[in-house]
């Protein structure tokens, strides 16, 4: 394991910022710490770096407990959200700073800096001062500086928070490539679930100082551990149902949940892609009216209103939309192919009940 966080808590005065968090990062892994702001993810990153001390718990880097090792001696690379470049130094000196402190030889420093400039596409910029660089270039200088002395882990705090959307997209792809080339264990903080999904091997999801779920992007998307994750990652329809005779009901919708006792209230969740629609009103069980269409590029999101007034979200491709001849106001029939019981609200649900319920696909296409 490259990084291990064991039972770590952090309190600022009376405020608990991080609450008994456990996770580990494998050697060479690219991992995201994801959560809304104030979720404690940056605090965790700063504790790993040694910029904050945990109130309790232990942190290990490559098997060594680092709680008592100062930030200077941890050999980590840290990239700050606002770059934190040294304004009085040019690009070369910024990157060389850590190497000079570690008393590298002059020639070795020059060689290493040149290597990094090349790797990060910063050739020719070594004499520039930070204020003469674009946002993306500053970001890369900050990463080069952090990587210079070959740290055991690279930690990035909201690395793409301060650049505009277009550059952010480029930087994400670039980070994935860089990580592939260097294979250095990388942990980055983000509040952007799309960014986390796109870039990382695994995601750690935080909310209010608690670790909510760890998993590969696909896992947390398809099998969210609880309501928070379900709502935070992607779009999900979340409904509160009451169980009668093994069926959870809300308005006209029915969800078979065989093992749950009568009278119980719980949350059911399903992704928009699980809502299948047809213009043949007899094809599926429920009827609804398409009230609004959102264009999301290749996909479209539909808002469907049931006779009871309940609104569900569905998602189909542009082609299907055209093929079905849909338009706002059109009446359709629908079914929900797949749904999950979200445990967080229904307290004390045993874990085996976090199953996904599937209906046998009727005719045709999966979406």
């Amino acid at each position: 394991m490259s990084i291990e966080v064991k039972n770590v808590s952090k309190a600022f005065g009376n405020v608990a910022a991080v609450n008994k968090v456990n996770f580990s990062v494998k050697e060479g892994e690219l991992m995201a710490l994801l959560g809304p702001s104030g979720g404690g993810k940056t605090t965790v990153l700063r504790m790993i770096a040694g910029l904050e001390m945990p109130t309790e718990g232990d942190i290990f880097i490559r098997g060594v407990r680092v709680n008592d090792i100062s930030v200077q001696k941890r050999n980590i690379g840290f990239v700050f959200q606002n770059y934190a470049l040294f304004k009085t130094m040019n690009v070369f000196k910024n990157i060389a700073f850590g190497l000079k402190i570690k008393k590298w030889k002059r020639a070795d420093i020059a060689g290493r800096v040149e290597e990094l400039l090349k790797l990060l596409g910063l050739e020719g910029l070594e004499k520039r001062y930070p204020h003469q660089l674009s946002g993306g270039q500053r970001q890369r200088v900050a990463i080069a500086r952090a990587l210079a002395s070959k740290p055991s882990v690279l930690l990035l705090d909201e690395p793409f928070g301060a650049v505009d959307a277009k550059i952010r997209q480029e930087l994400r792809e670039w980070l994935v490539h860089l990580h592939k080339d260097l294979n250095v264990t990388t942990l980055f903080v983000t509040h952007d679930q799309e960014e986390a999904m796109e870039v990382s091997d695994r995601i750690v999801i935080f909310s209010k100082g608690n670790l909510e779920q760890i998993g590969a992007p696909r896992e947390v998307y398809e099998q969210p551990a609880n309501e928070f994750v379900a709502r935070f990652i992607g779009v999900m329809n979340v409904l509160e149902v009451e169980v009668q005779n093994g069926v959870g009901r809300v308005a006209e919708l029915e969800f078979p949940v065989p093992t749950h006792p009568d009278g119980k209230k719980m949350l059911i969740g399903f992704r928009p892609y699980a809502v299948q629609i047809s213009t043949d009103l007899a094809q599926y069980r429920y009827r609804a009216v398409l009230v609004r269409t959102y264009f999301l590029g290749i996909m479209l999101r539909l808002e469907l209103e049931l006779p009871s007034g309940l609104v569900l979200r569905s998602r189909i491709t542009k082609e299907e939309y055209a093929l079905l001849g849909l338009s706002d106001g059109r009446e359709i029939s629908l079914q929900i192919r797949q749904y999950r019981v979200l445990s967080s609200e229904a307290s004390g649900l045993p874990p085996e009940l976090h199953t996904t319920y599937e209906l046998p696909p009727t005719i045709g296409e999966h979406i």
């Binding site: 200077q72 402190i101 001062y129």
Partner: protein
């Protein structure tokens, strides 16, 4: 009108006009009068007056003492600003208010106070004089007075710059392995240096022009403890107006050259800014 350039911020003509008028009335016209008065002297007389050994001694004392005072202020002012910005302590607001004290206090009062402290029966003098340390009415007293009047400049110019330093910069240095001391000298000092220079220049200029406090802390002995502004007053008392303005002109030119040099240094030290 068609070729008049559009400017989203109107009012340039008016504000520039006032600025020129204001500067002319307060600065340029008096200085011009000073030069005109001086030019009534022949070059020979001018040279004789301004190179008089007494005048030379006065320039040396004025600029030497001002330089030492400004250097002291640059160092201790930086320290004071650092403490006031970085740390929270009981009475901080009071200490902060004290910094402005030399601005408000009539400098003559400051001068009197300093000499009364260091005379043989003063609060400090009663311990220092028996040890053979004579401060009152010496050049040391002049330096103390000039340091006092220049104190606020470095502190007040540095405070906002220190407050705006990003904490992340120091953290970044720490993650790269830099100790606190190393971070201070490699990262913070170069960042703060241009501002310290500005404060230094202001304190220096203030000290060169100081008169009120020095008159009371110094014996104003020619060749020994007589500063140039005092010499000007002496010449005025002798009704030698031309000599007085001639010395003033020299004072002005030297000050201008030194400030220009400091300005150039500032530009060089902040080359990493826009």
């Amino acid at each position: 009108m068609a070729d008049k350039k559009f400017n989203p911020l109107p009012g340039f003509g008016l504000t520039m006009g006032y600025t020129l008028f204001y500067l002319s009335a307060l600065v340029l016209i008096p200085i011009a009068a000073l030069f005109l008065k001086t030019f009534q002297l022949s070059w020979h007389d001018f040279w004789r007056v301004v190179t008089h050994p007494q005048a030379i001694a006065a320039y040396k004392l004025t600029f030497g003492a001002s330089l030492i005072a400004a250097l002291l202020n640059a160092f201790f002012g930086t320290l004071l600003a650092w403490v006031l910005v970085r740390y929270e302590f009981w009475g901080k607001r009071f200490v902060d208010a004290l910094v402005d004290f030399p601005f408000a206090l009539p400098t003559a009062v400051a001068g009197l106070t300093i000499s009364s402290l260091f005379v043989a029966n003063g609060w400090l003098g009663r311990y220092l004089v028996p040890m053979g340390i004579q401060i009152a009415y010496t050049r040391v007293a002049i330096i103390i007075a000039l340091t006092f009047v220049g104190l606020p400049f470095v502190v007040r110019t540095l405070q906002p710059v220190l407050a705006n330093l990003e904490g992340e910069i120091e953290e970044a240095a720490a993650t790269l392995g830099a100790s606190r001391l190393r971070t201070f000298f490699s990262i913070l000092a170069p960042t703060l240096f241009p501002t310290v220079l500005t404060g230094f220049a202001l304190a220096f200029a203030r000290a060169v022009g100081e008169y009120g406090s020095v008159v009371f802390v110094s014996t104003n002995m020619p060749y020994k403890t007589q500063i140039a502004p005092y010499l000007i007053v002496v010449r005025l008392d002798e009704f030698d107006y031309h000599a007085a303005t001639a010395i003033a002109v020299v004072l002005l030119i030297i000050s201008f050259l030194i400030l220009a040099l400091i300005n150039y240094l500032e530009g060089w030290a902040s080359r990493f800014h826009n």
